[in-house]
């Protein structure tokens, strides 16, 4: 059956394909779907993820035959050369990519038998390009930072960054809580110069204001904790150790709170 080819900005392209473990009818059906899709779109090579199947399967058209390469790996490589590449995923974009001109590939056929072969020139390049798709990548991960930035600017929605479609926000809302707590503590610090200028009856009012601010900072810190937890679940993909960041931030804020708190106790209230 002819399947739809993955097109930008479908985030599926960022999924990493699993190894094929079962060489059964389902696998043969996937391969047939890939061949049908290749014929319909006049393609010379296709990896399964490009029709939404998250398994390490590549089909390459060799003369009139369609050969499946399953669980492919590059074992030997030599002779790097730069050539202009296109991708069916990012239509209308072509970039210069460094690839090996000679590779040795190991793979399994549709029955699960192991094979190896040497590929050269365009065949080697096509295989490397398809294998990158199997590893959740397109040519944008093989170019320098400037080129990547240029492609990012060219695309209406920017480059696809991860498999969930959502990329990491520039600003985490949890930071507003943190900033609020810091401003609160900043105001308390400012009040520390007040005793030099104001009359003693004002001291009592300043003390009350400082205590109020200290309580507000604690409330903001609690708010930070819970909101940050919620946000870290929402953006699991954004950093690998969000819990560590949250606890670290809270420890720093608590330390600062203790310092300004003791300032209020010993300097303002006394």
């Amino acid at each position: 059956m002819i399947k739809n080819l993955l097109k930008y900005p479908d985030p599926t392209v960022r999924l990493i394909s699993a190894n094929v473990r079962f060489f059964n009818d389902e696998l043969h059906q996937w391969i047939n779907d890939m061949i049908d899709t290749m014929k319909a779109n006049d393609l010379h090579a296709l990896s399964a993820i490009m029709i939404g199947i998250q398994y390490n399967i590549i089909v390459i058209k060799e003369a009139d035959n369609y050969t499946p390469y399953i669980n492919g790996r590059l074992i030997k490589h030599a002779d790097v050369c730069t050539q202009t590449e296109r991708s069916t995923y990012y239509e209308g974009i072509s970039v210069d990519v460094d690839r090996y001109n000679q590779v040795t590939v190991i793979y399994e056929d549709e029955k699960g038998e192991a094979h190896h072969c040497d590929l050269e020139g365009d065949d080697a390049r096509i295989f490397q390009q398809q294998l990158d798709y199997c590893y959740g990548s397109t040519f944008v991960d093989r170019v320098d930072r400037e080129t990547k930035q240029r492609i990012n600017d060219y695309l209406s929605g920017g480059l696809v960054k991860d498999a969930r479609g959502g990329s990491c926000p520039i600003v985490f809302y949890r930071d507003y809580f943190k900033r609020g707590a810091k401003y609160g503590m900043g105001l308390i610090l400012l009040s520390f110069i007040a005793p030099f200028f104001v009359a003693s009856d004002m001291r009592e009012w300043i003390t009350k204001m400082d205590i109020g601010l200290l309580i507000a900072v604690v409330v903001l810190m609690i708010g930070y904790f819970f909101y940050a937890l919620y946000e870290s679940r929402q953006y699991k993909q954004c950093t690998s150790c969000q819990m560590g960041n949250i606890i670290g931030t809270l420890l720093i804020l608590s330390g600062q709170w203790l310092v300004v708190g003791s300032g209020v106790y010993f300097w303002i209230a006394s």
Binding site: A18, Q54, N71, I75, K76, S137
Partner: protein
Amino acid sequence: MARLVVLGGGVAGHTAATFAADWLGKDHEVVVVTPNSKWNWIPSNIWVGVGEMSKEEVTFDLAPVYEKAGITYKQAKAVSINPEGSAKKAKPFVTIEYTGQGKAGHSDEIEYDYLINATGPKLNFGATPGLGEGSNLGQHTVSVCTADHAEHASHELTKIMDKMRKGQRQKILIGTGHGMCTCQGAAFEYIFNVEHEIRKAGLRDMADIQWISNESFMGDFGMGGLHMNVGGYVVSSRIFTESLFAERGVSYITGAHVNKVEKGKVHYELLDGSMGEESFDFSMLIPPFAGVGLKAYNKAGDDITDTVFAPNGFMKVDADYSPKAYEDWKASDWPRTYQNPTYKNMFAAGIAFAPPHIISKPAKSVNGTVINPTPPRTGMPSGIIGKAVAHSICDLIKKGPDAHLHEASMAEMGAACVASAGKGWLDGQAAAMTVYPVVPDYDKYPGTGRDTDYTFGEIGLAGHWIKHILHYLFIYKAKLKPFWKVIPE
């Protein structure tokens, strides 16, 4: 009064012994048998190997720590186990041979009620001709597996850097020294730390640096790969590693079984069956691991090593060891309680337990040579398993033989690892990686077998700071300083 004997004082053994001593109190005895007089924080050996840390900074004397914890310490290596006792002894015992404490060479028999085998691996240099003899490192290559090896590696590295200063171009080869090695992560850390030091010294243009590994693709790490976050983009560890190697100008060979090492040259076989050779002036090759070679005897004195240990020398535990094809692997094959199926008072923790199968996709060359990484068991799973086993034994002692055993399956456990790619407070780099679960569960997470939300890595300077802080934190914990128990494994 019950006696728990812990064989080995590495991450798993030390964690198990110290927690057990704390939980059991003075009513019971905990004995640690380890041939080393010092504890070694192995991950930091990488930095000793490039001269960024001294041997003393990554080790400390065990005797005072065990004295403080009320643990009986025997500086000895375990030779054999008699799980049924012997004709003369009714209770099970281990035979040990002292390596220190003024009794070196003397043998002793220590009776036990419960035994934890946490001997770690034998560094099997002898598996590759020329790499070494038995567990001894040979003369052609260096290693960073022990603090002494790392110190030697650092001296050798200084020598070749001196040659570079004199204008002699040097070839550096780092990776795995056999087709069935694990610990690619350590070699990965070492190659980038070496590259970082050479670059810092302004000698980068005088060195050709090459990686050689038994992984079938770059970034497999013995775990079948993972996802990395690089500059906000999620890519597989293969793309990430290949980019990192290209960025640092390091070439690589994958799918290689090093089958012979000579002076200045390695011979290897690749997964496609072809043979190759590579020359070097300096080479660090990780050896394969095997069990330490403990023997086991029954009451009559017959050798029952095959019953207690798997053929690779690791102890059999509650895993499913029946041979299975790749497609039939299940998360449930992996052990949960680490209890020996024959002798229920024996447990194994850390590297000492026999895994049911590997984690990466199995691979053989066309000549039939197995070339695939064996399962890594890094500090975090080892510590967690050691603690769970200690917990089970404490419950068996305190609540009786029907106590529920604590479980810590690697198929339900995540692991975090920070791989250094260069040391320096401002220019350091490290890749922080988390994997969940360590062993893929293909039923729960169809396809890759992993929860992609928690299988993640990032590289940067902050990672290096974390790695450096962990160095102090874990040595602090291992020294049983105040609040050591709240520091996670």
